[in-house]
């Protein structure tokens, strides 16, 4: 199969790679970029474990082809922290025990990251709806919701301080 050259900015780093047109974004990230944070949970776009951010939108990595991301900016869980400083959503999940086995966590974090930019002051109900595309088999949803609300509060606090 003829390979196609794509240029994608992944976590701020420009990556140029020839990929088969059928390569899924999640396979591209995991195999070609060695970024195994995004997981393949179901391969059917149900679970959201492969959720990443493309040009400011949450996308399930198994529903996108790598070639569709040519010229795009992709953010994965590996690029969430600023050096040694965790992002507020990561800190929220840590402090509120928002994970058990951790498999769904990268997808949850990436969705929470985008969701809190779409809605910086969500109610608990809005968090539940906003995160509904991500499944957790440990069924730790209560703490996941708490974690996202925790992160929302932290982000609001930071904004207030900055203002």
């Amino acid at each position: 199969m003829a390979k196609q050259l794509i240029t994608v900015k992944v976590n701020g780093k420009k990556i140029e790679k020839a990929v088969e047109p059928r390569t899924l974004l999640v396979h591209f990230l995991r195999e070609d970029c060695s970024l195994t944070g995004a997981h393949i949970g179901c391969d059917t776009s149900h679970c959201g474990a492969c959720t990443v951010d493309i040009d400011g939108e949450s996308v399930k990595g198994c529903t996108h082809l790598a070639v569709q991301c040519d010229g795009s900016e992709v953010l994965t869980v590996e690029g969430l922290a600023n050096g040694a400083v965790l992002h507020a959503v990561q800190d929220g999940f840590y402090k509120e025990h928002g994970l058990q086995c951790g498999f769904c966590t990268p997808g949850m974090l990436m969705r929470a990251y985008r969701f809190l930019q779409e809605n910086p002051t969500p109610t608990e109900d809005e968090v539940r709806h906003g995160m509904s595309g991500n499944l957790c088999r440990c069924t730790g949803y209560q703490n996941i919701i708490k974690a996202v609300l925790h992160a929302a509060a932290t982000l609001q606090q930071t904004q207030k301080v900055a203002a």
Binding site: H27, T36, I40, V77
Partner: protein
């Protein structure tokens, strides 16, 4: 969840010497940064990948499994069925319940999604297989 900030609670916590306190988990640091290293994340030199071909029907006799198309796919090393396991006496294996179970469907499929064949390839990308029964 979070460490208490209320002074009376702090005093109580100290007196209990850790009892009744929830602890933040040590392992979370890697999980929240995408550094979990799950089985699917592990890469070893010379590693091969296996994909399972499952039965779409709940009950059927296997007349024939045609491997030729599957073996033509680049990177595919082997396609195994019960017929291949038979000479090795590996086609029926003991289970924890003390009985035996078919590793791959042996002449007959007994339930939907039963394992019928495995495709072994150099890359993890799913290899389609032309199977006919």
């Amino acid at each position: 969840m979070n460490a208490p900030t209320d002074p009376t609670l702090l005093e109580r916590s100290a007196a209990l010497q850790g009892l009744g306190d929830s602890r933040l988990r040590k392992e979370d640091a890697r999980f929240i940064q995408g550094k979990g290293n799950y089985v699917d994340d592990i890469k070893l030199p010379g590693m091969l990948h296996m994909d399972i071909v499952r039965s779409p029907v709940a009950h059927a006799r296997i007349k024939k499994i045609d491997k030729t198309e599957a073996l033509k796919v680049p990177g595919v090393i082997a396609v195994l069925t019960a017929e291949d396991l038979k000479p090795l006496k590996l086609h029926w294996m003991p289970t924890l319940a003390g009985d035996v179970a078919a590793v791959l469907a042996d002449e007959k499929v007994h339930f939907q999604m039963q394992e019928v064949a495995v495709v072994i390839a150099r890359t993890a990308t799913r290899r389609p297989m032309a199977s006919r029964r």
